[in-house]
């Protein structure tokens, strides 16, 4: 039996950030994951830290806080790059809509620079010259998400005494009346004052072990990886339609081009969204659409080879907001899940705010919009 102040279920980016901030605040933390570090959605995304794709509201506030916290943590070890994001409109109407969004974001604290068509090549020399205009977001950044999760877990363990148990499955909760006092696992009991459910797309299953519901569902996304190249894409570059797709309610396939270079020289091409459960079947039509849209944005990609693709399951809730806070029915249980495609970016704010809750501090942001009880009917 292990004793901890806090048990974190999930060694993805969100679990790692929760563990890091809690351990740094002095809590004895044990992290458990049935797989490996970053073995779920964290290892199958792109590592976006974006403020640009969020409309004003609680998620944008969380993104702004998270981006500040990421800057404090910034390290070469996980390829943190404050490269900025460039959102590109293909039509005059799209450009007009984008400028309206940017003005609203600017009032909410986002730095924005309108980029006229003639100035786009200064930002991205290989961009389609037909583009109607864009907005540059200097606060957007990028990390290598698997390295980032591993880095925060390593800091939590080596500097702050946290334990990280991978390959250990949580099989149930230890209860004391209405209170959770730890977890049963395939490697024995872990007794803890509090338990954070950071199981990402699988958080609903973990919640059900405690007899509560968290309506997190999978939204499948594919990413194409090109052969390594010299730097031809300097920023996060995506089409203005991406913002609309992120917030969309549609069941069917949605794609919009998101293109970015990595330290390894490869270019990552996203992003698709489909609600097909946990089906990992490779979809050639989706990959074809991603490739076509990326070429429309950067015509020179037509001559570049794609070397592989991967997919992951973005954990989404019906209102597209994450679930962050104490469970209203089960004392001792907190949730940190449902961040959809923004979990890497929002992880730091999530871990920081939950640590404030656990240590009795007043959270820097109002957590009410993210409260786990909001789905109760």
């Amino acid at each position: 039996m292990t004793r901890a102040d806090l048990v974190v279920i999930g060694a993805g980016m969100v679990g790692a950030a929760c563990a890091y901030y809690a351990a740094r605040a002095g809590l004895a933390v044990t992290v458990v994951d049935r797989g490996s570090v970053a073995g779920g959605t964290t290892g199958s995304g792109e590592g976006n830290l974006l403020v640009s794709d969020k409309e004003p509201g609680p998620e944008l506030d969380l993104a702004l806080l998270s981006c500040r916290l990421w800057r404090d943590l910034a390290a070469d070890a996980f390829e943190y790059e404050a490269k900025g994001g460039l959102v590109v409109a293909s039509t005059d109407q799209g450009f007009a809509d984008l400028k309206v969004l940017a003005a609203a974001q600017s009032r909410a604290g986002v730095q924005t620079t309108t980029v006229l068509p003639d100035d786009l090549p200064d930002y991205e020399p290989h961009l389609n010259p037909e583009s109607a205009g864009g907005v540059f977001y200097p606060q957007d950044a990028q990390v290598q998400p698997m390295l980032a999760a591993a880095h925060l877990l390593r800091l939590a363990r080596d500097r702050h005494g946290a334990r990280v148990e991978t390959g250990v499955t949580v099989t149930g909760f230890i209860r004391s009346g209405d209170r959770v006092t730890g977890v049963h696992t395939t490697a024995g009991k872990i007794v803890g004052e509090n338990v954070i459910n950071a199981a990402g797309t699988w958080a609903g299953q973990v919640a059900s072990l405690a007899g509560v519901e968290v309506p997190v569902l999978p939204r499948r996304g594919f990413v194409l990886v090109t052969e390594p190249l010299e730097t031809i894409v300097r920023h996060k570059v995506y089409a203005a339609e991406y913002v609309a797709n992120v917030a969309s309610e549609a069941e069917g396939l949605e794609t919009s081009p998101v293109v970015e270079g990595t330290r390894a020289g490869t270019i990552l091409i996203g992003a698709s969204r489909e609600r097909v459960g946990f089906d990992r079947t490779l979809s050639i039509p989706v990959l074809r659409r991603l490739a076509r849209q990326a070429v429309a944005l950067f015509p020179m990609l037509a001559d570049v080879a794609v070397i592989r693709s991967y997919c992951g399951f973005r954990p989404y809730c019906p209102d597209h907001l994450p679930v962050i806070g104490a469970d209203p029915l089960v004392a001792g249980l907190l949730h940190a899940c449902g961040h959809e495609g923004a979990g890497i970016g929002l992880a730091t704010g999530t871990g920081h705010l939950l640590t404030q809750v656990l240590t009795g501090e007043r959270p820097d942001l109002d957590l009410a919009p993210f409260r786990p009880g909001r789905f109760a009917t």
Partner: protein, 78 residues
């Protein structure tokens, strides 16, 4: 029944049907490119088209997998 390709200017014998990676390896050449960050040698690793370690330029076409591309008489490999 062999033919030749050239690798960095030197002739390499090929048995018909061999891939470029197989021919280079049979000729004792185990690496033909280096990694960009650290300059480490790379050649065949998985040998089945998955890892992209064995990339070569063939007749000026870059980034081909040596383990998959069948050698043709006169191919110029770099």
């Amino acid at each position: 029944m062999t033919f030749e390709i050239t690798f960095e200017g030197r002739p390499i014998p090929v048995v018909p049907g061999q891939t470029i990676g197989a021919a280079l390896t049979a000729a004792g050449i185990r690496s033909w490119r280096t990694t960009r960050p650290a300059g480490r040698p790379r050649g065949l690793f998985c040998g089945i088209g998955i890892c992209f370690d064995c990339l070569v330029t063939v007749n000026d076409r870059p980034s081909l997998r040596a383990c998959l591309v069948e050698a043709r008489p006169g191919d110029v490999v770099a």
